[in-house]
Symmetry: C2
Subunit: 198 residues, 2 copies
């Protein structure tokens, strides 16, 4: 009996990771009961993200400016470049404030299962950044998953011809662990103990 | 390092039931990666709900029209009135297509803990609907929680002076169970075995 508008909103919410059809319905009810205090702010926040945010053409971060705040911050050490799978990984590492350099977001990981090939990721752009010079170290901060490590291995081969130190996060990461879900202590340890790629 | 826009969206999503800060961050990333296929539809759905939906002044349902589709459906039996706590409960009962009558949404339940008193719920409106006549049976379909049953008890006392049969859902409902989370079989059984309030 819910209206088509409510069905559409329920379905749109149910497709978010972490929400299913039932919790989406609960969320819709929550929003309908709190139109001024919950629905309006969510609508405004979503609209602002949609209107104002752009993808940084240098690093793949999402921000209001292009280049993004990280890329244009003069206090950051441009000689160190940390390569991550997703924007969320960039945020996770940046929250920890342990890495003083810049970032490069691949936009995913190589996956035979999902048919994701090198040309589907921002790998050519990474190679061009390194080729342009000024970078001493590339940290491959992939997730400690099979696909993440396959991606790191592939990247190491692609950039080994450049005069840069290639490192990866220490395997203090739990097997199967994803960066965005780790506590800062684990992240800090893994980053401190990063080691050259063989 | 996430922008204020992303922080605002993350916080608005994190306040939804079923999502916490971490899953909200995941959801935001999901939306940012799928601006056309996920963010735009969610924004449009939320905007449509915000723009088009109104609360039915008769029953408290949420719909594009006032009176709502349930109240204006001539095939429904206006002599039977089912009183529920929330709009989601109306939807849950309506999905099961087992109740041929109309509904009345209280907008909550009595709660000493949360300070919710009779005047905070649509109880006077319920009394006026019954007083206006034409209703033979009032089904008190509160949740099988302490507060739901307290509310049902209070309602039964408020309307016992009218010439209507007052029934409530059979206690096939699991203790502590909430209507919106039950399968249709349980709902059907509870509705079939509804009994007069003592
Ligand atoms: Zn950038
Ligand atoms: Zn109605």
């Amino acid at each position: 009996m819910a209206s088509p508008e409510i069905d559409a909103l329920t379905q749109a919410l149910a497709r978010l990771p972490g929400l299913g059809p039932r919790s989406a319905r609960r969320a819709v009810l929550h929003l309908l009961k709190r139109r001024e205090t919950a629905l309006a702010p969510l609508l405004a926040a979503l609209d602002a993200v949609n209107e104002r945010l752009v993808t940084c053409s240098t690093c793949g971060n999402v921000d209001t400016n292009d280049p993004c705040g990280v890329c244009s911050d003069p206090r950051r050490d441009g000689r160190a470049l940390c390569v991550v799978e997703e924007v969320a990984d960039l945020w996770a590492l940046d929250r920890s404030r342990l890495f003083p350099g810049r970032f490069h977001v691949l936009g995913g990981k190589l996956s035979a299962l999902e048919g994701i090939r090198p040309e589907d990721l921002a790998i050519d752009a990474l190679v061009r950044r390194i080729e342009a010079g000024g970078i001493d170290e590339v940290v491959l901060a992939m997730n400690a998953t099979l696909e993440g490590q396959t991606t790191a291995h592939y990247l190491a081969e692609r950039i080994e011809r450049f005069p840069v130190r290639i490192t990866q996060l220490a395997h203090g990461l739990p097997v199967g662990g994803e960066l965005d879900y780790l506590d800062e202590g684990t992240l800090a340890q893994a980053l401190r103990a990063r080691r050259p790629v063989a």
